[in-house]
Amino acid sequence: MRRWRALWFWVFVGPFALGLALFTYVPLLWSVALSFFDAHNTVTPTHFTGLDNYTAMLRDHAFLDSLRTFLVFTAFIVPVTYGCSLSLALMVNRVRRARAFFRSVFFLPAACSYVVAALVWKMSVFSGVRFGLANTVLGWFGAGPVAWLASPDPPWYWLVIVTVRLWLQAGFYMILFLAGLQRIDPALYEAAAVDGARPGWTVLRHITLPQLRATSAAVVLLLVVNAFQAFDEFYNLLSDARGYPPYARPPLVYLYYTALGQGQNLGLGSAGAVILALVVAVVTVGQARWLRLGRTDGDG
């Protein structure tokens, strides 16, 4: 009986495990191995170069600039998305009528693709010409058109990138927070009211936020990983046939051009991918420890 069970386990799990190994773990390990070799225009390791690819990548201004840009982007987008989605969840949770309607309205953008949203933002809302939506509104107040995506000083392109990301993401995280809010025992709020706590900031700070700790940790973790993986909206908002502006080039885009673009330097690209993975891992582990992810209140 136990043998049959094992057989069925491998019948169902085996193909997926094999796929995962073949298409994820083998390429991953291959990429790590490739990062120690000179591999121009080939995926077969040729000449062993030790840490040369790593030192070259860490001296590459374009790569370092992209990492710096994304650390700033992450430091900004994570708290802003967290705050917006939590606020939306608190608002929707309090609504007594048409709750499903409001949830749907805020969640619907999550179903839209990043590519489509980025193109709508780029071509109609934040188009740099006088008839773009944002520039039309500015025109009513007598202001001239603003080149939203082409102006590094002031960096208006961040407004475009951040708003499209917020519009797409906030609804999804709102749903996670709503689930968390609904798991909080109402007796806690009743007890707080009996003890004289006024609804509002005090209750939010001392009951709601502590009760949402597990949800918050998961949300922040997802936000950090998503921020470092940002590609679609950057690519569709800022790239052109000739390349990418240096002021907002995501690390993934740079690695894409290095390894898979005309560069075809797969050894160097792999070294960059390993460095990026380490940065994401360090940031993620750091924030998980900070949020005490996985610990119960009894743990030291």
């Binding site: 080939t42 188009s127 082409a150 390349g243 240096p246 898979l260 673009g261 005309q262 560069g263 075809q264």
Partner: protein, 415 residues
């Protein structure tokens, strides 16, 4: 009417058979020989795809399956060349030096024996390495400065022949609704590339393989591009980029840098109210500059039918001059890569088209093969910071010279 399961199955099988038989694969009747796969990037002009399928269908010594590939074509081919499942014959805006050195493309020198001199040198040079030819040029494309004659006349501006005059003209032509100049939504860093350097009498890479812009003239000329940005004379954030003439046609700009391919559309919309110019000269050693590029036909070194693929390339892009003329002039608007064909082309003998051909012949420069993607990224990033951030050109160019020197040292080493 009800449909039985048997009828449905029969219909499905029939549709499957039809699907298997259908699809224009470019295969003609009575064709012998191997099956070749040929890739093209997606052209914007109507009729080009049908034309290349027609050419392939007319070949008798192999079955040629034409693949028309939209999207990021250069990246697709670069990835496909790593495997044996890639194309046998493919169109390439290169090949790059690393593709040649990596043994990814076949040597096609023998195909051009006896006709090499009939190919435009500017088109052939970037496809030649170590004296061998690695792709057969198909057509020549070039970029030009388009301007609206009426707008310049109204503003009392003469067509600019120097970079200083271009900066002044762009400022004079700018008002609340119209910008003076459109160099692409990034302010020109991407599309101009090395053009301002050539306009200053310099180059990207010198004849003896050194960075060609380690010179104070480079910083001076590139600094002038920032004046365009600082004067607010540049159109930025247009719905379509420099390659599409829409910004000029919609009256968003008085002058636009665009390609020769845009000329028929501009002529159709504006009639005679436009002219073309090369990128204007700058400084005492300066000269007008016109970038030229050529898509070529290459053969994958991993092809299982390499000799058959070479034979097909020779048939299409060396022997069948009628197809070459048709491809260059019947759909889009390109200069044939063969000098003899370009001379005979009636559509290129008058008006702005004739000017464009003259500029390309007299002032054309091709991006050197030694100009690698890593050097290009460093240079374009510096140019972007110079134009848009007003960064000091001399300070920005210094590390680029170092990077390009390192790249040149790398590619000079034998693989």
């Amino acid at each position: 009417m009800t449909i039985s399961r048997r009828t449905l199955l029969a219909a499905g099988a029939g549709a499957g058979l039809l699907t298997a038989c259908g699809g224009n694969t470019g295969r003609g009747d009575g064709v012998s020989g191997p099956s070749l796969s040929q890739w093209y990037h997606q052209y914007g002009e109507q009729g080009t795809e049908q034309a290349v399928r027609r050419y392939a269908g007319a070949y008798r010594k192999a079955r040629v399956d034409v693949q028309w590939r939209p999207g990021n074509y250069d990246q697709q081919t670069a990835a496909a060349l790593l495997t044996a499942a890639g194309p046998d014959v493919f169109e390439v805006n290169g090949p790059t030096l690393d593709q040649i050195r990596g043994g990814q493309v076949a040597d096609l020198t023998a195909l051009l024996e006896g006709v090499k001199d009939d190919f435009a040198p500017a088109a052939l040079a970037p496809k030649t390495y170590d004296g061998r030819i690695w792709a057969v040029p198909q057509v020549i494309d070039t970029q030009l400065l388009y301007y609206r004659k009426s707008l310049l006349k109204d503003a009392g501006v003469e067509p600019p022949t120097t970079l200083d005059a271009l900066v002044d003209a762009a400022r004079a032509l700018t008002d609340r609704n119209v910008k003076g100049l459109f160099l692409g939504n990034d302010g020109g860093a991407g599309v101009l590339g090395g053009t301002p350097l050539y306009a200053a009498g310099l180059s990207l890479v010198t004849e003896d393989g050194k960075p060609g812009f380690d010179d104070p003239a480079a910083a001076r000329t590139l600094g002038k591009l920032h004046r365009l940005y600082a004067d607010d004379s540049l159109l930025l954030g247009a719905p379509s980029d420099w390659s599409d003439p829409s910004a000029l046609l919609q009256g968003l700009t008085a002058m636009q840098w665009s390609g020769l391919w845009a000329l028929p559309q501009v002529r159709k919309e504006l009639g005679d109210d436009f002219g073309v110019l090369p990128f204007p000269a700058d400084g005492a050693a300066g000269r007008p500059a016109v970038p030229v590029g050529a898509y070529g036909s290459a053969v994958s070194a991993r092809s299982g039918h390499r000799e058959a693929a070479k034979e097909y390339v020779k048939w299409l892009w060396v022997e069948r001059t009628d197809y070459q003329r048709d491809f260059a002039l019947s759909y889009g608007f390109h200069i044939p890569a063969r000098i003899s064909l370009a001379k005979k082309a009636g559509r290129l003998r008058s008006g702005a088209a004739a000017d464009a051909v003259r500029f390309a012949t007299d002032h054309g420069y091709a991006q050197p093969l030694l100009w690698t993607p890593a050097g290009q990224t460093a240079y374009q990033d510096a140019l972007s910071r110079i134009i848009r951030n007003g960064a000091d050109p001399a300070r920005e160019l210094r590390p680029v010279v170092g990077k390009v020197s390192a790249e040149l040292d790398r590619v000079r080493k034998k693989p």
